[in-house]
Symmetry: C2
Subunit: 699 residues, 2 copies
Amino acid sequence: MSGEASVRSAAPAEQALHRALFEPRRIALIGASADRTRLTARAQLYLRKHGFIGDILPVHPREKEVLGEKAYPSVADIPGAVDFAYILLNTPQVEGVVNAVAAKGIPAACVLADGFAESGPEGRALQERLVATARAANLRILGPNSMGVVNLNARIACSVNAALEAESLPAGRIALVSQSGSMMGAIMSRGAARGIGFSHLVGTGNEADLTAGEVAGLLVDDTQVDAILLFLEAIRRPEHFAALARRAHQAGKPVIAYKLGRSPFGAELATSHTGALAGSDAAAEAFFRAHGIARVTTLEGLLELPALMIGRRPPASAHRAVGVMTTTGGGGAMAVDCLGVAGIEAKAPDTAAAAALDEAQFPHHGRLLDVTLAGTKPDRVAAALNALQMAQDTDLALSVIGSSAQFRPQDSVAGILRARDAGHPKPIAAFLVPEAPQSLRLLAEAGIPAFRTPESAADCIRAWCDWRAPRAVPEAAAVSHALPERPDEADARRLFAALGLVSPFVVLRTPEDAPQDLTWPVALKILSPDLAHKTEVGGVRLNIADAAALKQEAAAMQHRVARMAPQAKLTGFLAQPMAKGLGEAILGFRRDPEVGPVVMLGTGGVTAELFRDVTLRLAPVTEAEAWEMITEIRGLRPLTGWRGLPRGDLAALAQAILAVSRLAARDDIAEAEINPLIIGPEGAGVTVTDAWVVRTAGR
Amino acid sequence: MSGEASVRSAAPAEQALHRALFEPRRIALIGASADRTRLTARAQLYLRKHGFIGDILPVHPREKEVLGEKAYPSVADIPGAVDFAYILLNTPQVEGVVNAVAAKGIPAACVLADGFAESGPEGRALQERLVATARAANLRILGPNSMGVVNLNARIACSVNAALEAESLPAGRIALVSQSGSMMGAIMSRGAARGIGFSHLVGTGNEADLTAGEVAGLLVDDTQVDAILLFLEAIRRPEHFAALARRAHQAGKPVIAYKLGRSPFGAELATSHTGALAGSDAAAEAFFRAHGIARVTTLEGLLELPALMIGRRPPASAHRAVGVMTTTGGGGAMAVDCLGVAGIEAKAPDTAAAAALDEAQFPHHGRLLDVTLAGTKPDRVAAALNALQMAQDTDLALSVIGSSAQFRPQDSVAGILRARDAGHPKPIAAFLVPEAPQSLRLLAEAGIPAFRTPESAADCIRAWCDWRAPRAVPEAAAVSHALPERPDEADARRLFAALGLVSPFVVLRTPEDAPQDLTWPVALKILSPDLAHKTEVGGVRLNIADAAALKQEAAAMQHRVARMAPQAKLTGFLAQPMAKGLGEAILGFRRDPEVGPVVMLGTGGVTAELFRDVTLRLAPVTEAEAWEMITEIRGLRPLTGWRGLPRGDLAALAQAILAVSRLAARDDIAEAEINPLIIGPEGAGVTVTDAWVVRTAGR
């Protein structure tokens, strides 16, 4: 098995790396211990235990032999070529050995030790030197802080993960790439208990060189892989994940992620644990969505979702609805309730499904098809599920099984198998209400999605409805507009005007300047690249009626601000007509430290902050995405004709979102925001009332 | 065992009912089948299988013997007293048999058949006749649609639930009362797989007579019971649950509920399934909270929470924070993240915990105490947990265990046991990251809370932090104020004024009436008991400057409304000064169909509706509860001095909540609302700007 090439099509360099990582025949274990109780002995023990038939080459400074294998005093002493080196030494010894590994011409190495980038500036510098050495020698590095590589089909268990203590592990067709080594083992063990086997398991740790996205990318074309799971603490190189997701979509293989950082405490930990910078979870969510990576929020869902997605394409347009049949009233109602909490509606049969149910002589009414009286005979269960599959307005047919799953596994599963074999393209799935390990295993073996809890059922079905093809990234040329080093509000407004968001304003250099072409009354603001919060230093005055009052207010403002913010450089005054509209939005652009440029829309004023009424997309966006964003903001609903209220110019808002998202192409811009953007009545456009922009440091 | 009285203290009638339901010695099985494959044979088979040593008395119209027991042609033919009758007949036969059971003087019966109140008016009438018959004969009924009664310690398995197919079931000290019979079996089977045993399991079905609250109340004083679990589809008799909760609190026994209806689809199903009326889930949540009933939202949590609560009292005031230690970085971070999503903060050690950790020589920094390097030796794990228990600002110490839980269960559990034995009152708990059934079982047997998934861990710990003693119901005399049969807005305002919420208004009977004592400008509204939406029929005009304009507007309004709503009875006009304040609230009272009187507070205007920014409490409320409600409303935060904004008169708002909640004592009032209630600056009070009240039908 390990001798055959399992990669169908990939660039030669990738093929070579795939071979070195996943099908090595000669593995150096540098720092392998002869003491079986030591962590550093495990890789050797596990390799043999799980049937590795290649050469194990322990490197040990003193021993001639380690656990029955001939040992070498140094990497250089190993005769012949080596495919893969697992460096098991302590942190201070790693650098010297990486040099030796590079000199030996080994194509791939894995570093177990931690204490690199996550430990502070010194560790970061050390990590950077490792990578520089490796790059120069075409050596690819997994880790530091990596639990190694497992390829169950090829009987390669080159890892120190204790999960490999298991006497045997079921091989399967799902690959797992995990930034956390311990979660790699935990997920494997949880899968094994369900009869869900893995093909490959890789711990990518700190990702000094190889990222989870890149490693997963190597597995897309592997003929032994049907789906790729990611356990992520941070997204370090978003372009790797984007490339992976595109290739996986082309290959028809789903990518499913569980990512930490949904809560601020988790985000803080995940990044301190890995040495990466934390982005916002909303940005990560936007990233997964844009790239067609399904995200689960339950641990069990990570194991249960693959069967639902393997061999399927993302639904063209999801109804976010399911048909549900049950052999247990209470359990069925519980499933419907949990689905509802996740935003998925259990729908009563539509005309097509009702006709099929009538033909099969099932009485039906309401959201839940209770077949308890009809019995749990396989042909009846199959008929009911096939009838529910006929519905035009659902995305899945769910069977909720009661006690038969516990005591008559074969029977309870037979109906679902038969329903599947009818070949209708709409997926079917099962939630087993009692403890029913045998039925879960039978369903897993048959490749039918089966859920152990109502919460994971709802999570997976929600993820299935959310699944989209990777989006086509819209073209967006960089707007050509020069910005000073430290822009003030007028500069920000000129930038937005260059993007097409023109709102009237004039700049006065001194209080004596006579403004031209102003519509009264106006607002007056101090201009300064140093003042982010103008109101607090008395730098804003509203509703100024005429030129005389303006002159007076400007003079007073100059004195006030100079006194309250003596360090601020004052560049003049900005006057603009008082704007009124039907609503306000906040529209911003920033570069998320994990996923890169994003555009943000929210309700204006304090509402966005009080209710977290904001939505994000990767920038630049398409017009369809801009409209989606508008739809997601609850605070903008009154502008959509809700309750007979007058409609706002949401078309202009959509164009504004598009425009702002184009800042993605301007690497010199770190952040920009309009707050508020005032939305006028339909046809009246939008007005920029306050704006700022921050340049990227050093650009 | 079954011969001894297991109830410590209860009224004689209760003791007798407890004996009949849970320790019957002579059980009649009416409609028992001689065919072992029939559902109606199961009760007899399961009773014998699980070791019942009393008399089984099958009633069968033709057979002399049923499955080896002497059978009787009718209930009347059974010699001697009978403790309990399980009626296994079809719906149409039930009524006749209940009459016979009542005539025989049997104290308790259970009805298996469905097709009663949940099936429509005929079924409802049938059910009411059953109950009337039973009441007249002092017969208590479980069901209809009940799966029966199980008392594992007494070896009574009087149920048709297929979960009793299991060869043996672990007896324990947790009682389960379930409205769903199938969930009763599913929960039992899931518990058994974890080593979590039950004392009693009861299916209450339709609850024509005995409710889940009443049955659970019978078990509070049972010496074999440490905790009571409820699986609920509807709350039918809230007073039963309130009484249960108070008694359970006095007895120091936690009550834990899983209730359907968190989503509208689930609520719809739960009620159509049981024939009950649906209340709102927010009202159910308020109900559980008021009565000190802990609510879980994960199915697994229902099994996992008891160990955390048994033997403990509700935390006096929860920090909503935990200390977390781990032997697996990624798994620990995942737990911290899930806790954060549930609103529970994993806190870094405070001074006290840090001192204890220093003394035990644990390096520590940040939110997660990673002891991986310190090893998983029991004494180290115990030392770390005991140190975390020292924190003054946490509610629990959580141990997140990695692969040792899978491969060295004894070892991994030993440290936690040792930590527990140190006797610190702060609870400790464990989340096992890999598949680790043996460790879960060992912890369950030791009575230590152990979680199988990060989601159920977060759910249970959140429920622990939310747990409160049942509240003392505040005294609230009914306000004495007469209301007409069909009140208009002026009547509603007079009612609120009687409650202490006085806001100026005048009533004009005709447009010609000259208003006295008005502060201009005013708002003018049509008065009518028939018009809930005055604006839509032109019945509201704002900002009227003086008496002349008012007269003109009133005349125009009369014509307009008469044309647009010709059926409405018009009772005059209401004029009130235009009010301005710092914010708006909606304040309402209603009677929830499940839990009874509730008071509701939300932000005013469209915000409450757009963002569901509302909170509920059982009415009447205490002042502390009123302040809690204010704190929970995000839209009121700007009035709390947030960001330097001027403070609103929240003390007046709290008094207004108290006042409105006193409507609970007025049975003649079904609903009442002030919307908006305008909140003035501190000291300036609140103003009722619109109000309505609806009387209870038939009172």
